[in-house]
Symmetry: D2
Subunit: 345 residues, 4 copies
């Protein structure tokens, strides 16, 4: 019998992508879809690409409308998930694509989000060591942010294997859908096409504490992350260039050794590909897919390990990661309903 699945915040980009994936998920029946300012509109109006659901009407985002489902995806602005989740039945699987339940450190939450910390849910990145054990059977899951997904996959093996020093430098380009669907002047097409620009430089981006948390957990010590996100002239995709100094005297100092570590870590992962030598990830190669592409290099002059990862920010970076978590939590095959291959060119 099909799972009944609701999506809250279905009018945004993340919500639309969740719907796209659920539509082709063989075990899912899409139930209530909700929105706030778009309530009353059809999905066809909100998502002109969602032809198969075009006539569905967006309801108001309330706990009442969302109740009575097996699974509820929350794709809401940060800070709005906690009160809603509290009203949903404890045995409903609630998967939050917002930031509310990702951070363990209440102080970090307050510093970056300015409100009281809601708590911490199991962290929905199944590729992390031990994560699947925690996610199986869980009824509350916090899906990682898009940048943390790309960066954590790129660097955690280097930290769990003690290949590098605890100072990471990350520069990551994101397509503009990563900034959401809110109307802001710098997101107008005429401004973004042909343009690259950084934002949140110097540690100010809200994904910084999540990156720090993930890499520190992997390293078993505090890792600093210098994180600079940039906005790139493309609708989707994240390309994260991550590096850290090699530990002196460590094994794993050669590119072959480093690649061997990464290949071993990801050998059985359905959605992470360490590319063969000589090929580098591109965002086009993962468009619409749940795959993360990785490649590593060692710079002998700078004595740094560099790992570049590419994901689709809306798929593996949000909606695909969320559906993957649903599959894991419910004991379904992890690949179910999730595209591996990208739409290219």
């Amino acid at each position: 019998m099909a799972l009944r699945v609701a999506v809250a915040g279905a009018s945004g980009y993340a919500g639309g992508e969740i719907l796209r994936l659920l539509t082709s998920h063989p075990e899912v029946e899409i139930g209530t879809v909700t929105a706030h300012s778009s309530a009353g509109r059809t999905l066809g109006e909100a998502h002109p690409q969602a032809h198969s659901l075009a006539d569905r009407v967006l309801e108001e985002t309330t706990a009442e409308n969302l109740s009575g489902h097996d699974v509820v995806f929350l794709a809401l602005p940060h800070g709005q998930s906690a009160s809603l989740a509290a009203e949903l039945a404890p045995d409903t699987l609630v998967i939050d694509c917002g930031a509310d339940f990702r951070l363990r450190d209440p102080a970090a939450w307050r510093r970056f989000y300015g409100s009281a910390h809601a708590g911490t849910w199991p962290y929905g990145l199944p590729e992390l060591p031990g994560a699947r054990d925690e996610l199986e059977g869980a009824t509350r899951i916090a899906v990682p942010g898009c940048f943390p997904t790309a960066v954590t996959l790129a660097l955690f093996p280097a930290y769990t294997h003690r290949l590098v020093e605890p100072e990471a430098v990350v520069v990551a380009a994101s397509g503009t859908s990563g900034a959401g669907r809110a109307l802001r002047p710098h997101l107008l097409g005429a401004e973004v096409m042909g343009s690259m620009t950084p934002y949140g430089v110097g540690g100010g981006h809200r994904h910084t504490p999540e990156l720090t948390q993930n890499l520190s957990l992997a390293a078993g010590e505090h890792v600093t992350v210098s994180f600079t996100p940039t906005l790139a002239p493309m609708p989707r995709g994240i390309l994260a260039t991550c590096s850290a100094r090699l530990r002196p005297g460590t094994a794993g100092g050669s590119e072959e050794e480093v690649r061997a570590v990464y290949e071993a870590v990801y050998a059985d992962e359905p959605f992470v590909q360490v590319l063969p030598p000589g090929r580098w990830p591109s965002t086009a190669s993962v468009l619409g897919s749940n795959t993360a592409l990785l490649q590593v290099a060692v710079d002998p002059g700078a004595r740094r390990l560099i790992c570049v990862s590419a994901i689709d920010n809306l798929t593996k970076g949000t909606a695909g990661g969320a559906v993957q978590c649903m599959n894991v939590a419910l004991g379904l095959p992890e690949r179910l309903g999730l595209p591996t291959d990208g739409v290219a060119p």
Copy 2:
């Protein structure tokens, strides 16, 4: 038992898209994949987005390599399908994405392609009147060109219903994948980004005789088509703006009547959507999907019917149309393995 399917010309853009669709087709097992100059390379090298087939090796395009399959897709340069098809078993379903077998008029073929006419196969646009009868059980199918798919869907109802005069004017923008993967200076990224430019103006584009053929068959009289293709700064997609003068005194002169005709013609079509009033097709809305979006308008001042259609040139315009034909020919559900919804934003 799965169908064994081969793809010839698998290193090009059309071939890559056929593979993407076949990979998620539940009745298909991908057999031999062939190429010419890329023979010996892996699919991972040729199509960095094709993660699930990355290790498959491209063989040389020969009839021998292609034999022994239930279905063979040909995605070859124009003029190369005929000799190959002649060597394949008569009961193998051969689906040609090239132009070789699309035209009925040998003279038109010679004028636009400069070689001897190979013949005419059943024309693979299932939405045309009577087409499914011809395609069911067929073992040779000629898939339409990408522009003819977009334009024929936009205009044939106006001709079968005698709404307009036999002089069509079409301006259609295509993403640059429509120009193929050959290395040509004007297709370099630095040249195409930010740029629109026409080509084949004045009747010179090779899709012109195919358009003329399709619309003339629909009208039951000779239809002239003024066709101007333009190259647009996007990887995929066709937006075809098609118009013709309304017949004087005809029924169907109001926008509502015209829309009613289109809605009736496409009421049961799984892959054609006539949009509700006030919404217009966009290429982003059909990215990676087999859907054609249509909208109509009547210009009272110019006394013209305008129909705008949007398709993905590689999906509905080539590979998706080809898989749809395979489904029809083999009696499978027509939607099988074909995405309806687009990947957007």
Copy 3:
């Protein structure tokens, strides 16, 4: 002594482009710059590319602030120029980039703009027959819309030389800056990149009556114009594909004859280039330049003349056209301060 020039509406895209051109105009000193909601901000905030004027502060758009200049450019939303212009000194050269004074027919104005007609000023397209005589010494000039500039240059020679019938069909793609800087969901970068979509189909675009007016004046009879604008994934540029049926029995029926007419009409024009045979206009070739590129073809099958033109919508289509008019009105060399060559690739 330098001309003192003010720009009203300097925070928009048109205003920014006027400033860019004036900055390198040798006879101009930039005086007051005004805005409405951006008043109080610096030009550096409004136009991050305007480094040479970054510290200038936008004042409120009032007649008082704009008085005391030799020239005032108005780059305001439609309908706001009339009252402002009435308060400026009669001998001040006022150049309006809005639509308020372009149309001769008050009924057409009311139908498309819904308010009382403000009047008609000399029409600022110097390339039209007789236009320079009217513009020299004028103190009020209405600059054409961006689409009308591209289309009128493409088709008026065919009408003044009676080459074609009075039914024009125009499909024109515009970069998204043509839609202005207002925040609208469909103009978000994530929506427009990779996407083409039409708007104002069926005669509804506000530039339709201006096109009809211009071509009818050229033809000496009423010309209908079927005009479909499309939004293209590029910041700037218009590519207009314009066609009309050749008059039966007319001279000018061959491509060579048509080209000869166009070459003769534009032989002495500094900003219109009829390309040599075999080359077609592209928007990239005119980026940031005041040049209009044209090419003609004759389709023997459809018996139509096709002319494709490319301009930069913000330069020749708005700000460059406006500065060109200023030069003509004041008796300055027409090319002064205006770039001929594009910024490409």
Copy 4:
């Protein structure tokens, strides 16, 4: 009397941009333009945006054709400048946009370029300490690479003022014109639009030794540079995100102090703008301009100084830098003929 200026390699992107700038330079008369495989073609064919020079014919690149000019710009593939320059008169100002004469270390040259080192010319980055003294009156100048221009401007003040440690990490995105005009599959428009991808990762890019050289000279000690270039979906522009650990106990540890250093260093520079706090560089803001935009931040958590710079790779990064050097060498006003403001949106 005008300077007679020749351009060798005028058919490439750099050559085209040199011509665009020279065309509006008041002291320059464009003499011979040469090419190799495009010799015999017109500039209109090679550069469809170069309307003012469209009829000029490209001659073969030989010393004979280039002799008799006051200035010769070389925009040739790496390794071809030396033999040509040797044949030009010693008092001709030869400005090389290639790499041949940029590196001081013959071993570094051999490692990255594989041939014998041609020598070292005065380095054409006027903003470096002491550079103008060396460039004034010089007759041979080596213009920096596009990435080294962006990165050196971003980091040299931090090294000359001893703010940071000698380990720089640079991730820089470039528009695809930076890869030149050669036909390579990954540069096709369909491949690059919507895609970001790295290349030359791990120290392999040929600009790495030039970066190391420049920053080491500024620091007075060896600086390692971890440099990852990425290809971004835009025709032009470089956005360089550069960082290094703050020296412990150093003055300049706060963002205000760091900005004060940068503002002082660049206070009198006509082509470098340190942006006000809160604004960040974008490549769109420098399109077609010779301006470099910079902004700095201090990340207190990571204890790193981050400087992001944006330039147009073809203007300030190549052709504009070259013309700026010509002006300095010949004692002309440094800004002559060089646009400060960008073409945006």
